[in-house]
Symmetry: C2
């Protein structure tokens, strides 16, 4: 599953907030940029048809839930991105990311631990 940019924004709301109605999602989206209610509705309907979301229709308003995990989605997107933008070289991407972004010492430590783990594998 490769969500589009708009779909990703909706998924992120659901990942952060848990199950939401269309209105709730739309309110969160509108904090950043004006989005019409029916726009969000339509997108979420499409995402439901694609299987990206599940929903409960019991109540007056449907309640939607993300049907893909944030980690799995990020993995998919990253895979594609490394391929297109970095011609498959994950290490080049890592170097760029570390070089141009601020990372806390704690995060750097975590990364170091991960490096150890990877190198210790036979």
């Amino acid at each position: 599953m490769k969500p589009t940019d708009s779909e990703l924004k909706i998924l992120q709301v659901l990942w952060q907030e848990g199950p939401c109605t269309v209105r709730q999602v739309n309110e969160r989206l509108t904090e950043n940029r004006d989005v019409g209610y029916t726009t969000t509705l339509k997108l979420m309907q499409i995402m439901y048809e694609k299987g990206l979301l599940t929903r409960v229709e019991d109540a007056r308003s449907h309640v939607y839930k993300a049907n893909v995990s944030e980690e799995a989605t990020q993995a998919t997107l990253l895979e594609r991105f490394v391929g297109t933008a970095f011609r498959g070289s994950a290490s080049k991407l890592v170097m760029q990311a570390l070089g141009s972004h601020k990372t806390t010492p704690a995060e750097l430590d975590e990364i170091r631990k991960l490096l150890d783990q990877i190198e210790q594998q036979p």
Copy 2:
């Protein structure tokens, strides 16, 4: 400058091969997927108008050159990608990338060195 996917493919050819005619670029692109000559031509004309490419019109066929560096372009794309897919967390992206991709010991070493550098900065 944020090149589209197709534009990126063209840039990659030019980064690898250096200055090329439309035909040369098109031949490289066709190795992977069928692309009509005029399609490539049109795209490169658009990229020229956008300033992504420069060209020399002296000869019978124009010779195009990338007008943005691979590194700068990757930085731009990465910036955007971290923002949209990883909500700004470069370290999460790094962890994911390291975890799910094969990296050679030499590359891991390079990354380690970069970590040292970053941590030593005041």
